[in-house]
């Protein structure tokens, strides 16, 4: 017996629409379907003009983040059975919308790159010196924060992202913190300057919504608040230990 659910989807065509509008679709659904299956059915069978991002269908690529009934979620992971007869699907909050459910990602990519998400060392290690060695305990210091799939649900949930455009944001700070806590890295001072710059980590006001919505248990709120402490310690010690020249890249 096929059930039907009503999808109320936000549509926006920049060439046709002044502002986003909603369009309803009646979708025959299977019991084990995810929200993404419903959207793909709409695109394949009902309305081919619907635009939405998706890829892996297994919650590892981070492409399919959208607002469902007002909450940011990975639509490939979110079961339709979690919802009643009607679902409202909208593009991620806090982002400019390119078209329908597709948001502008370049702002996120800029914030991402601003935290220098790569190993920074003062001197590059020669090949003859061998590989970097890292103990399991050292790995545990940052492993959780390396699990981010850049789905941007945390940016969607964070009230500060929506109100303060310069804020670096949860995922980017978590990634920068990941490198600061990596025993192979020597770039903490550089990153902490970014963390105390215009996009300051101190803008975080403890909503914790980023961690609530994260599908990978990265706990960006922990990273951001740990980064605050590290940034303060770095600032305090900079009075005692003068800054050296920039580390080599």
């Amino acid at each position: 017996m096929t059930e039907t659910k009503k999808f109320v989807v936000t549509r926006f065509d920049p060439d046709e629409d002044e502002t986003p509008r909603q369009q309803s679709y009646e979708v025959p659904v299977q019991p084990d379907w995810k929200v993404l299956d419903g959207l793909n059915y709409i695109k394949d069978e009902i309305d081919g003009t619907l635009s939405h991002r998706w890829s892996c269908r297994m919650a590892v690529c981070g492409s399919c983040g959208m607002m469902v009934n007002g909450k940011p979620t990975l639509t490939c992971k979110d079961r339709l059975s979690n919802y009643g007869d009607t679902l409202e699907v909208a593009p991620l909050s806090n982002f400019p919308v390119v078209r329908d459910l597709v948001i502008e990602m370049d702002g996120f990519m800029e914030k991402f790159q601003s935290v220098k998400p790569w190993i920074i060392t003062a001197k590059e290690k020669a090949v003859e010196e061998g590989t970097n060695r890292q103990s399991p305990e050292e790995l545990e210091h940052f492993k959780q924060f390396s699990m981010c799939i850049n789905c941007m649900l945390c940016y969607s949930a964070c009230p500060v992202v929506g109100n303060e455009p310069e804020f670096i944001g949860p995922a980017a700070i978590a990634l920068g913190h990941r490198y600061n806590m990596d025993s192979r890295d020597e770039g903490a001072r550089e990153r902490n300057e970014v963390f105390r710059g215009e996009g300051t980590v101190f803008s975080c006001s403890y909503a914790n919504e980023c961690s609530e919505v994260c599908p990978k248990n990265v706990d960006p709120a922990a990273a951001v608040n740990q980064a605050k402490i590290n940034a303060v310690l770095d600032w305090a010690t900079s009075f005692v230990v003068p800054r050296q020249g920039q580390g080599g890249k």
Binding site: N163, P165, R196, G197, E198, F202, S205, V232
Partner: protein
């Protein structure tokens, strides 16, 4: 102004953090006893008659406690009120709101030091 605020941010955040941590702990006792307990007769008002209150307050530890009780909540309050303003779409007015609020906390802290010193 924005650059100055960013430079001062670690100090402001530390004061805000202590405002929550220590300020909350001190305020709990103060509000429970002085704010509610004594006025409602749950605590004997004689416990804080002038002689005893002044003796407690003018002791070095007492002065520090009173200073923390007044100043630290001001920093927590100022920082959170600033975030309230930002949450209500106040990013553009932050250059005025932030110095105003932190200025209030600074003035209050200075007054607190003066009041505590003159006990």
């Amino acid at each position: 102004m924005k650059t100055l605020l960013l430079k001062l941010e670690p100090i402001i955040w530390l004061l805000f953090g202590q405002g929550i941590l220590i300020g909350t702990m001190l305020l709990t006792a103060w509000l429970a006893v002085v704010g509610v307990g004594i006025p409602l007769g749950l605590v004997d008002a004689q416990a804080l008659d002038y002689e005893r209150a002044h003796a407690l307050g003018s002791n070095l530890v007492g002065r520090l406690v009173l200073l923390g009780l007044v100043a630290l909540p001001l920093w927590k309050g100022a920082h959170h009120c600033r975030h309230l303003s930002l949450d209500m779409g106040g990013a553009e007015r932050d250059a005025i709101v932030a110095p105003l609020l932190y200025g209030v906390a600074t003035v209050g802290s200075v007054l607190a030091v003066m009041a505590v010193v003159s006990l």
